[in-house]
Symmetry: C2
Subunit: 224 residues, 2 copies
């Protein structure tokens, strides 16, 4: 008779704030790795969850009171060496949210915090979470090259400059404003709203996601 291994999920929730890419981390309060920072995740509960995606959303709600704008399966990590308790299987999701949207909730929970990538590099994280974050980051960067997913790191109204900054923060490269505008147009995902933002000198056009948008994948990557 085979006993099922411990099945957990973990979330890599990204946001961008002031040109810095951050990941939501929570402090572990139980063994193993008690006291260390870790990804917000937990055990899949067949009694309450209708799917593992449901588990992922529930954990983000419970641990930080947030609901992401975007959530997608990254991949499964498994093995004997990733948890001192033995063989474990973790389904990892990566997710995006606007900083303003989440900030309120994060601040009321003192064991949840936005951590920048340089900070993460220096921390000692629980389990193989550092590796998981790197895989998620790689995927987010790739996806940023051929889609508009970074928009999910922004509030519901945003300018082209906002979007440009978020993209540049994620891929750590400058992009051409012109290229971005062409893609915004071509994607058909967005509509201009009757409002302008006074961020810079000249007022900037505000955009929002259309009510029934489909995420478009472009046929070629941005390059440099």
């Amino acid at each position: 008779m085979i006993t099922s291994p411990l099945l957990t999920i973990d979330n890599v929730l990204f946001t961008v704030h002031d040109g810095i890419l951050k990941v939501l981390m929570v402090k572990r309060s139980i063994e193993p790795y008690s006291g260390l920072w870790s990804l917000p995740g937990g055990i899949v509960d067949p009694a309450t969850d209708t799917s593992t995606e449901d588990t992922a959303l529930r954990k983000l709600r419970e641990k930080a009171g947030v609901k992401p704008n975007y959530l997608e399966q990254l991949e499964v990590f498994s093995g004997h060496d990733r948890d001192p308790r033995g063989f474990t299987v973790t389904i990892v999701y990566y997710a995006l949210i606007g900083y303003q949207q989440a900030e309120v909730h994060i601040h009321t929970v003192d064991d949840a915090e936005w951590v920048s990538l340089p900070q993460i590099a220096q921390l000692n994280l629980a389990f193989d979470h550092k590796k998981i974050i790197n895989v998620a980051l790689e995927r987010l960067r790739q996806k940023t090259l051929y889609s508009m997913v970074p928009v999910f790191c922004l509030p519901s109204l945003f300018t082209i400059s906002d979007l440009k900054q978020v993209i540049e923060t994620i891929i750590e490269k400058p992009i051409q404003r012109k290229s971005l505008m062409r893609r915004v147009e071509a994607s058909g995902m967005f509509e201009e709203v009757d409002e302008k933002a006074a961020t810079g000198k000249r007022m900037a056009q505000l955009y929002k996601l259309k009510d029934n948008f489909n995420i478009v994948n472009f046929e070629r990557n941005l390059s440099f």
Copy 2:
């Protein structure tokens, strides 16, 4: 106390033979869905498997005696409605193999068979395996547009025409031979061997994967 749900893996093993894309199916001998065709998979066994990828490879070996040239995680399927026994979680892998390479083994196992996609559409498959196959197919098609993965459906020596046919079979569209040759060259994954194949009239150059190849992803998709 939370009991872990039943954790299984399934494989969608593709090959191309004579211009037909096929999936390896096995006949179920136990309930539920006994007697129906299903994907070759099974339960993850922490006692023997070092990872879920290991489970996937083991199941392909046990059920059909084959070792794929390419194996990659597709995604996790979960829910209460996919198995009459209740909440289940299935990690799905998709894989590629050359027809010649696998044929011998498949023929010795009478409950394993290559099934074409039109045939699959007409069959009544176990669980949600029809849906899983469609998701895997979609992924394979996407990947074919920006990489050379279809080469893993071929024997170790192959011609450009072989590769072209496999690609066209997968995406169900004709491509330009010229575009393919440019990509074969640009990828740096292949080397010409000192041998020619007498498939058509003029002898065709044979290629093989370099000993230390890296799978290259192109910056733009093939289009039509």
